[in-house]
């Protein structure tokens, strides 16, 4: 008899009126299997209706972020353990099961002008500080929203960590000429002042130190 483990997944079907419910799955134990490996096993062998996103299978695409025992994690580089509970990123609207609605985040780029204006973008000589280059590794996985105690989806007065990372990155791009610090204030970054939460970033950004602090120090 081979060894098995149990994982529970919060299933959510918006097409019936039932509240989301936990489903248990028994899966074969495998050395160094990941949460994503488990989701793929369930979809293939047990229940093809299980909805989740994934792409690259190791840490680059940012599509497979879910909550593991209540904490945001990338499914592709989290080893699975017996008794784990998997749910969608909290704070974000759910389409089905582990799939959250991402549509508004593309629209945010437009609404909040989160791009460098074209007339300033001719490259040539550009000296970008290291801090700015580092912020470019934000994989836009949206994990940070789920770990931010202030963030509420749809709150027009508070941008949230992902937006602050974008604003800080742009403010450090020498070609950008919008006032990103002013934008950050308008988007409620002062609420971060008294917050001791450590926003989680699977790619290792220290969001408070590298983005929020940068925007706060420039705006004071």
């Amino acid at each position: 008899m081979s060894e098995t483990i149990i994982v529970s997944i919060l299933r959510n079907n918006p097409e019936n009126d039932q509240p989301p419910s936990w489903c248990r799955y028994e899966i074969p134990f495998e050395e160094k299997n990941t949460v994503l490996g488990t989701l793929l096993y369930i979809q293939e062998e047990l229940d093809p209706t299980l909805a989740f996103r994934y792409g690259c299978r190791y840490k680059r695409c940012g599509l497979c972020a879910v909550e593991v025992d209540g904490k945001p994690r990338m499914a592709c580089h989290t080893y699975v353990k017996d008794g784990m509970r998997l749910s969608p990123l909290s704070k974000l609207p759910v389409i089905r099961d582990l799939v959250i609605d991402r549509e508004s985040f593309f629209l945010d780029l437009q609404k909040r002008f989160l791009f460098v204006d074209e007339e300033n973008c001719n490259s040539g000589i550009v000296l970008e500080p290291e801090e700015g280059a580092k912020l470019r590794s934000c994989a836009e996985c949206l994990s940070c929203f789920a770990s931010c105690p202030q963030y509420i989806f749809g709150d027009k007065d508070f941008g949230g960590p992902y937006i602050f990372v974008k604003l800080a990155q742009l403010s450090l791009d020498p070609r950008d000429n919008r006032n990103r610090h002013k934008q950050a204030i308008e988007l409620g970054i002062n609420r971060c002042l008294d917050c001791d939460s450590k926003c989680y970033c699977p790619n290792g950004l220290n969001i408070y130190r590298e983005a929020v602090n940068h925007l706060l120090s420039k705006s004071s």
Binding site: P48, R60, A133, A139
Partner: protein, 559 residues
């Protein structure tokens, strides 16, 4: 049924698709971009982010780069496309930077010779990185570039077939994955920029999960010609285990420089001096050894990097790769000693890139009126092998060319009538939901992927190719008997069904072309024809559909 209209419809949300869409809009077209994944989350984002940028080192020139492309491609390239690639490469790099990306610069703020790497097949260093996130920053910049433009973006929407008005392409039937809705998009021109088809070899691929070859099948089904589909690039070093990361890329030949070795299961050295070899040369040597039974219990060979640690420059290379985070995946899969190069890595080639694809002219136009292609979806630039770091610049160069040409073709034209066959094509997708047949479309994908890896993978022989064709035919028949969930939103069964049909089409094109090419050239290794045959096979293989029948022919290369 919802119907959307535009001048230019762009299928694909990666580097080529976004560049094509934004360019078409800049030339005045009303543009819709459809992306199967969230926008900008495809293979461009997950790349290491190295781009070719000829001319940064003294002695380099466009001509020399062009010659390298041809030599590396073993002279199957379309020379006109290869020349455009060389000539416009610097422009492509600037175009991506104009969306907000930045490539690595030296302390003067310039892309200079001191930031250029030498990669196998290039005569001189001309590959530029973008630390520290690699392609992630490209993905972010592409999203920003799309947001800055006035294109309409439909994310997580998949095209199931193209619509025609007579001979002219005039739109697409689309499926909105999140909403479960089938709808039509009418267009004056369609640009296919859906990338390659690495997922045909899952799990032995380092491509993103959506890379199923949809665009090749869409184009083939409306009669477009495709070129050299047998030329599939396998990156030599992919992981073999654990299962959840099998196929993930850990490096290209230059990783092993200067002293790295490849050993077989018995520890015998089968390859050294990898630093100057092309991907195809290393992969083919590995494939021959694996076919002789030299593989490990995981089906891999042993990449031994430890000899590098004896040299200062070797230790330096370890540091560089550690700093860039490129070794984390190895620690994750194989542990601390492997991370420190003290223990060899178990590696096997992994499907990475398709040199073949939709045949286009120098304006990105396919053989079907109104149909364009760009990026990996098009074929011909790279011939039988692509040199490292060229594919990213390619996206912006050829995305730009196709976007501009498509816009010029259809601005001010009257919308075409694409009602021919639209109800039937849409009905085919609508009727999928809730089918009570026997087979899961995902399980059929796995069956196809297994036969492609085993029989049409890194080492090919006639018998195996014929086995694959038979298996493809059997899976096609099984597709008549599918079991499909009835949920509306995020119904992966429907997506998998559209995909498996496309995948079967592409699998057949690859296998037939591989069977026809009775030689070994570039990425195409025939164990039963192990030599290059310059006399008979300096030819391109063209596949297309005529009067509903599959056609295959060869044409002399255009030199």
């Amino acid at each position: 049924m919802r119907v959307e209209s535009c001048d230019v419809l762009c299928l694909g949300g990666g580097g080529a698709g976004i560049t094509a869409a934004v360019t078409a809009a800049e030339y005045g077209a009303n543009v819709i971009l459809v992306s199967k994944e969230p926008l900008g989350y495809g293979d461009t984002r997950i790349s290491m982010g190295l781009t070719s940028f000829p001319g940064v080192v003294e002695g380099d020139s466009l001509e020399l780069f062009y010659q390298d492309l041809l030599k590396g491609g073993e002279y199957l390239n379309d020379p006109e496309l290869a020349w455009i690639m060389a000539e416009m490469n610097p422009f492509g790099v600037q175009l991506l930077e104009s969306y907000g990306h930045l490539f690595q610069r030296n302390n003067k703020g310039l892309i200079g010779s001191d930031v250029a790497y030498l990669i196998g097949g290039h005569s001189l260093p001309r590959s530029i990185g973008c630390p520290p996130g690699g392609g992630i920053s490209m993905g972010n910049a592409l999203r920003a570039g799309a947001a800055r433009s006035n294109i309409r973006v439909f994310e997580e929407v998949l095209a199931s077939s193209l619509l025609c008005s007579g001979e002219h392409v005039a739109g697409a039937v689309c499926f909105d994955i999140c909403r479960g809705e089938v709808f039509l998009i009418r267009a004056g021109a369609v640009i296919i920029a859906t990338g390659g088809a690495g997922w045909l070899y899952y799990p032995h691929t380092d491509c993103n999960s959506g890379v199923n070859g949809d665009g090749y099948a869409l184009a083939y089904n409306v009669g477009a010609k495709l070129i050299d589909m047998e030329q599939v690039q396998f990156m030599p070093f992919g992981l073999t285990h654990p299962a959840s990361v099998c196929g993930v890329y850990v490096g290209e030949p230059s990783l092993a420089a200067p002293k790295g070795l490849i050993r077989n299961r018995n520890g015998e050295v089968i390859l050294s001096g990898l630093g100057t070899m092309t991907r195809a040369q290393v992969t083919n040597a590995m494939a021959v050894e694996l076919s002789r039974g030299g593989g490990t219990e995981y089906g891999g060979l042993l990449l031994d990097l430890e000899p590098n640690l004896a040299l200062p420059e070797g230790r330096q290379m370890w540091n560089v790769r550690k700093e860039r985070g490129q070794l984390n995946i190895v620690r994750f899969a194989y542990g601390e000693d492997a991370y420190r190069w003290k223990k060899p890595w178990d590696v096997t080639p992994t499907a990475h890139y398709f040199m073949g694809g939709i045949m286009v002219n120098t304006s990105g136009q396919s053989s079907v009126p109104g149909l364009y292609a760009a990026g990996q979806a098009m074929g011909g630039i790279h011939g039988a092998n692509r040199l490292g770091s060229v594919s990213l610049a390619e996206l912006f160069v050829f995305g730009y060319i196709a976007g501009k040409a498509a816009a010029k073709e259809c601005i001010g034209q009257k919308p075409l009538d694409c009602s021919q066959g639209q109800e039937e094509a849409a009905g085919n997708i609508k009727s999928l939901s809730g089918r009570k047949g026997l087979y899961s479309p995902l399980v059929l994908q796995r069956r196809l992927q297994k036969t492609m890896w085993e029989n049409v993978g890194i080492a090919r022989v006639e018998k195996g190719l014929r086995t694959a064709l038979k298996e493809i035919e059997e899976i096609e028949e099984t597709c008549e008997n599918l079991k499909i969930a009835s949920q509306i939103s995020y119904n992966r069964d429907i997506v998998h069904t559209i995909e498996i049909k496309h995948m079967l089409t592409v699998a057949k094109l690859i296998t037939e072309a591989a069977l026809m090419r009775c030689e070994t050239r570039g990425a195409h290794l025939r164990l039963d024809f192990p030599e290059k045959d310059e006399k008979n096979w300096r030819r391109n293989i063209i596949v297309f559909k005529e009067n509903n029948n599959f056609k295959i022919q060869s044409e002399a290369v255009k030199f």
